[in-house]
């Protein structure tokens, strides 16, 4: 399997001197094309940091990130930006949306930024908003949506432009279990049917069980990895056990 993401000795240190925090300590990770990987670990172990580095949102202190064969640190800001716009879809943990834009406009944002004609961008955005169950909230502003609805808009936005890789930080954190399952199923489908690569951070073993592989992080290091066999209940149990060990 060809690798979509490869990290080499990825290290991130926040701050300097006494207050320095090493969030990631030499992560070597490879994610295949079309693979659905979940990252789990206790709070503060560096999950978000890993996601940001892979997404080119921040620069590593040491080590490299290859995305689709390109090493990110050799690119200019504009080139990385363009990659984010075209090849990546993001769902963040908090504050995902632009408050002055409607749900539809928010979902269409990456395409609009990329110069896709508005009509076409909106059409695609509408389709994905319907898929996440928001067809009746298209023209609402973020302030008029619940936390879970906002998160679903963010997911529609991450998927609508059909990126190569989707980076999701707790995409189901604000959703009830049924809605969470729907989203996870959707991600699963995107991965297996359209061959998109997905890197998802989650706390929920049940959601993690939808992935092909789970990477366990602790104190900035990969401590374990599990390939799942596709049986939801069994997988969930395995994950639960592993998490308890951590």
């Amino acid at each position: 399997m060809e690798s979509m993401v490869v990290t080499e000795n990825l290290t991130k240190v926040y701050g300097k001197g006494e207050t320095a925090v090493t969030a990631l300590k030499g992560i070597n990770l490879s994610i295949g094309q079309g693979e659905f990987v979940a990252v789990m670990g206790p709070s503060g172990c560096g999950k978000s940091t890993l996601l940001y580095l892979i997404g080119g949102l921040d620069r590593p202190t040491e080590g490299k990130v290859y995305l689709d064969g390109q090493e990110l640190s050799t690119l200019t800001d504009n080139q990385v930006t363009e990659i984010r716009r075209r090849k990546m879809g993001f769902v963040f943990q908090f504050y995902n949306l632009i408050p002055v834009l409607s749900a539809l406009e928010n979902a269409a944002l990456p395409m609009i930024l990329d110069g896709v004609p508005v009509a076409r961008a909106h059409e695609r955005a509408r389709l994905w908003l319907e898929r996440v169950g928001l067809s009746d909230r298209l023209d609402h502003r973020p302030a008029e949506l619940s936390g879970g609805q906002q998160q679903r808009v963010a997911i529609a936005r991450a998927l609508a432009h059909e990126p190569l890789i989707i980076l999701a930080d707790e995409p189901t954190g604000n959703l009830d279990s049924r809605a969470g399952d729907e989203i996870a199923t959707l991600l699963r489908q995107i991965s297996s049917e359209w061959g998109r690569t997905i890197l998802m951070v989650t706390h929920d073993p049940r959601i993690a069980a939808y992935a092909d592989r789970i990477v366990f992080l602790k104190d900035g290091k990969i401590v374990d990895q599990t390939h799942l066999n596709g049986n939801a209940q069994e997988d969930t149990r395995t994950v639960r056990e592993k998490m308890e060990v951590l």
């Binding site: 949102l57 800001d77 504009n78 963040f92 002055v100 990456p110 990329d114």
Partner: protein, 851 residues
């Protein structure tokens, strides 16, 4: 590109209140610049004509080479010359009066043996020269048999307003009704009788003729003036000769100084407008960091972000400029209307609508939109530097503020030192630069100072609002966001600096003027020679006249001046001989350096000289210098014991020495000017009669009631200063509104925070107190800084006038400062009121959601 506009538009519409407030900032910037310029030309022109009138001069006078009358068509040719602001034709003739024409007393000396009949076009003439009517009205175009004369002529011939003046003319003796009175004539030459042009043409039997054309030019630039004069000559042909105001004359210098001050005010307005707009965008970027970060994370490039902010600036710039143009016009119109009554009467400003030239509109638009975009550039740049992480992990970047604050503090100290250097150097040309340095220095120093100051004021407020402990909260808010607090306080600072500077300059200017005028002319009576401007051409009187005057019962003091022409280092000097003791008592000299006691003593005991301001700057003379005076008997060395100025000679290079020395070195002992004070309780009528009797043999002198003269002139000055205050208000009011605006935005910005406060249990009252305290602290800081900057700028301006030889004493604007403090507090509270109301009504749930 379209996306940026969409986002910009959405942000603008999404926060209507904020958008309205920030656009208002632009509106005020443009309003001040545009509005001020719509009436500034009118005002400057009025000021110019006023100064010209005081000197009895116009820019250019055109006459026929052999003095003949000519056809008014020549006037049209002059008017057509590019650069001629206004031109007026008049017909003037000296009317020689038969002996004893007015007094009908063969024994009395005829004081008026001729008058000048001057036919003018009442409307145009008033644009040329400010005729300062003290009683009645000025001529109107349709007047027949109506005349305007001076107070002195009226007294000499014994007519009053509404009375009849009979003059022998080409068509026989004609009765003219006196419809208006001008101030006493102090200029050389015959008294003038003003009538309408058509009347003069009829009386002088010269139908359809004029013999003088007066013109004012539209520039102060010397090269341009020469060029325009040349063009006038070319236009009218070689049969005419042009007399022009000498370049470099004091009048021109004064007008230039005034224009410089006006320009400085315009510049400050622009600076403030730009600053307010900058502040707006800075706030916009600061509070939108998270959104910007998110856009970046999703793939918006730096230039997309930059353009988004600039697009917002452009939209607001255009809307704000358009509104500013309209409101500026209205405001200019209102100010003019305010000045109209006074203007008409004293300044003779012909006020119609404000003047709007296409170039002014274009300049205003460029400035309005340009400054907005420019002010948005830096914030847009900083917005483009926002990293995607800002959205995900906000509040990075607070750390670096300390470093920046430290750096900018020291940069500010350096600029402050430079500004102080300029102050010490007293370089007039650097006034504007000094003002800028000073404001920038304070703005730079503000971040570092805001914490300690906020702590101090917070402590004070805590004492006031002791019970609910919310003042600390407000103070804490400010200390946590020193950047924002700095900008808000700086805006207040500039607004206040403008007010204080205006107060300084205006108080100093008006008080100095009136003081000096009172000192120099405020003696009970003056005996004036025909001309004050050219002492040397006067025939004086031997010392026995002074003696006789002193002997008149009721006279307390007679101080006389004697004159001799001389030179110091190639500079022509009018040397005035004074009786140090008597002159001292009149207190006519205002010292700028040296001390009066020792100076007057030195004058009596040695070859000592007091020089006036103009002379000291023209010849580079300092206190204590030895100067060489050219005298008929050779050169003499005098020691400079003081630099001091009196009103009458303020504009001419003058030195004062003792009468003993002027007799010894210049051989002069005739008195050319007398100042007389009466004993308390003296019978004025009796004394005046005695003077008149005595002066029969001295027809060269004119008796003048000094106090009355000062009163008459004071009205004129009051009018000038009133207009200046009106202009100060024009600048200050928008500044204050802008300040309220900025404070209000500061509160709006924190809606969410306030919601959080309410959510965790703050009462409405507590929230209100927090906001009020914050606004008060900010306006207190701004006001304190503003007073500092304003004092500096005011002092600089006054010193600049002084350096240019204009007699000014700096007067500390104590009342101005008190009112500034009051204004600061009132407007601070005002600024907090609306947002505080809103904040207390805030729906907590709404506030905690997205904006």
């Amino acid at each position: 590109m379209t996306f940026q506009w969409l986002l910009a538009w959405r942000y603008l519409m999404g926060r209507k209140q904020r958008t309205i407030l920030t656009t208002l900032a632009i509106v005020f910037g443009v309003l001040v610049i545009f509005g001020m310029n719509t009436f500034m030309p009118t005002f400057v022109k009025a000021f110019q004509t006023q100064v010209m009138a005081a000197a009895g001069q116009v820019d250019v006078t055109l006459t026929h080479k052999i003095g003949e009358a000519f056809d008014p068509s020549v006037l049209e040719k002059v008017r057509a010359v590019d650069g001629v602001e206004v031109a007026a034709g008049s017909l003037e003739r000296v009317i020689n009066l038969p002996a004893d024409y007015f007094d009908r007393d063969p024994n009395a000396v005829d004081r008026i043996s001729a008058v000048v009949l001057k036919g003018i076009d009442p409307e145009v003439a008033r644009q040329m020269i400010a005729y300062n009517i003290v009683e009645g009205r000025f001529l109107e175009p349709g007047d027949t048999h109506a005349a305007v004369i001076t107070r002195s002529l009226a007294r000499e011939v014994g007519v009053q307003l509404g009375g009849t003046l009979s003059l022998p003319t080409a068509i026989g003796v004609v009765d003219l009704k006196v419809v208006g009175i001008l101030p006493e004539r102090m200029m050389p030459g015959n008294e003038e009788v003003l009538v309408t042009l058509s009347e003069a043409q009829q009386l002088l039997n010269m139908p359809g003729k004029i013999n003088i054309i007066d013109a004012n030019l539209n520039t102060m630039d010397e090269a341009r003036r020469a060029e325009i004069q040349q063009r006038i000559i070319e236009a009218v042909g070689s049969n005419y000769k042009v007399g022009a105001l000498e370049s470099g004359s004091e009048i021109l210098t004064n007008i230039r100084n005034a224009q410089m001050i006006f320009n400085l005010m315009g510049f400050l307005a622009l600076l403030m407008g730009g600053f307010i707009i900058f502040n707006t965008f800075r706030t916009i970027v600061a509070e939108r960091r998270r959104d910007i970060g998110m856009l970046r994370a999703l793939g918006a490039s730096r230039s997309t972000i930059r353009w988004m902010i600039l697009a917002e600036g452009l939209i607001q710039g255009i809307v704000g400029t358009a509104a500013g143009l309209v409101l500026g016009y209205v405001f200019g119109y209102l100010i003019l209307q305010l000045i109209v009554p006074i203007g008409q009467q004293y300044l003779n400003i012909k006020v119609g609508a404000p003047e709007v030239s296409p170039s002014l509109v274009v300049t205003s638009i460029i400035l309005g939109v340009g400054v907005t975009v420019l002010a948005g550039l830096l914030p847009a740049q900083s917005a483009s530097r926002v990293t995607p992480l800002e959205a995900l992990r906000p509040s990075v970047g607070g750390v670096s503020f300390r470093r920046i604050a430290g750096f900018s503090f020291w940069a500010g100290v350096v600029l402050l030192a430079l500004a102080a250097g300029i102050l010490v150097s007293r370089q007039a040309a650097l006034l504007g630069l000094g003002a800028i340095l000073m404001s920038v220095a304070l703005i730079l120093m503000a971040p570092a100072l805001i914490n300690p100051i906020a702590n101090l004021f917070g402590y004070l407020l805590a004492l006031i609002f002791a019970r609910n402990g919310t003042a600390q909260l407000a103070e804490g808010n400010l200390s946590r966001q020193p950047g924002r607090a700095t900008v808000t306080a700086s805006t207040t600072m500039i607004a206040m600096a403008v007010v204080v500077m205006m107060a300084s300059v205006l108080t100093s200017l008006s008080l100095t003027f009136v003081n000096i005028m009172e000192k120099s002319l405020g003696s009970d009576y003056l005996l004036m020679p025909p001309t004050l401007a050219v002492w040397g051409s006067n025939t004086g009187a031997a010392p026995d006249l002074a003696q006789k005057l002193r002997e008149i019962p009721g006279v307390a003091l007679v101080s006389t001046l004697r004159f001799a022409g001389s030179q110091i280092k190639d500079v022509a000097v009018g040397v005035l001989g004074i009786d140090p003791q008597a002159y001292r008592q009149l207190d006519g000299l205002t010292f700028t350096s040296g001390d009066p006691d020792s100076a007057f003593t030195a004058l009596e005991q040695e070859r000592a000289i007091i020089v006036n301001g103009v002379l000291s700057s023209a010849a580079g003379i300092h206190l204590g210098d030895e100067v060489t005076l050219v005298t008929p008997t050779g050169e003499q060395t005098y020691r400079v014991v003081g630099i001091a100025t009196d009103y009458l000679n303020a504009k001419t290079t003058t030195g004062y020495i003792s009468q003993k020395n002027i007799a010894a070195d210049f051989g002069r002992d005739e008195d050319v000017f007398y100042q007389i004070n009466l004993k308390p309780g003296a019978d004025r009528a009796e004394v005046e009669a005695a003077f008149t009797r005595l002066l029969k043999n001295y027809p060269q002198f004119k008796l003048l009631n000094g106090k009355a003269y000062v009163e008459e002139n004071r009205k004129m000055f009051d009018a000038v200063f009133f207009s200046m205050y009106a202009m100060a208000a024009f600048l200050a009011i928008p500044s204050l509104i802008a300040m309220v605006n900025t404070l209000a935005i500061g509160v709006l910005e924190r809606t969410r925070e306030i919601g959080m406060l309410r959510a965790v249990g703050a009462t409405r009252r507590q929230v209100r107190t927090v906001i009020l305290s914050e606004a008060l602290i900010l306006s207190a800081i701004g006001t304190a800084f503003g007073i500092l900057a304003g004092l500096y700028m005011g002092y600089m301006a006054v010193k600049t006038f002084e350096a240019l030889g204009f007699p000014m004493t700096y007067i500390f604007p104590a009342s101005g400062i008190l009112s500034t403090v009051a204004i600061g507090i009132i407007f601070g509270a005002l600024a907090a009121m609306a947002p505080a109301r809103q904040a207390t009504r805030l729906d907590v749930v709404e506030a905690l959601r997205y904006e």
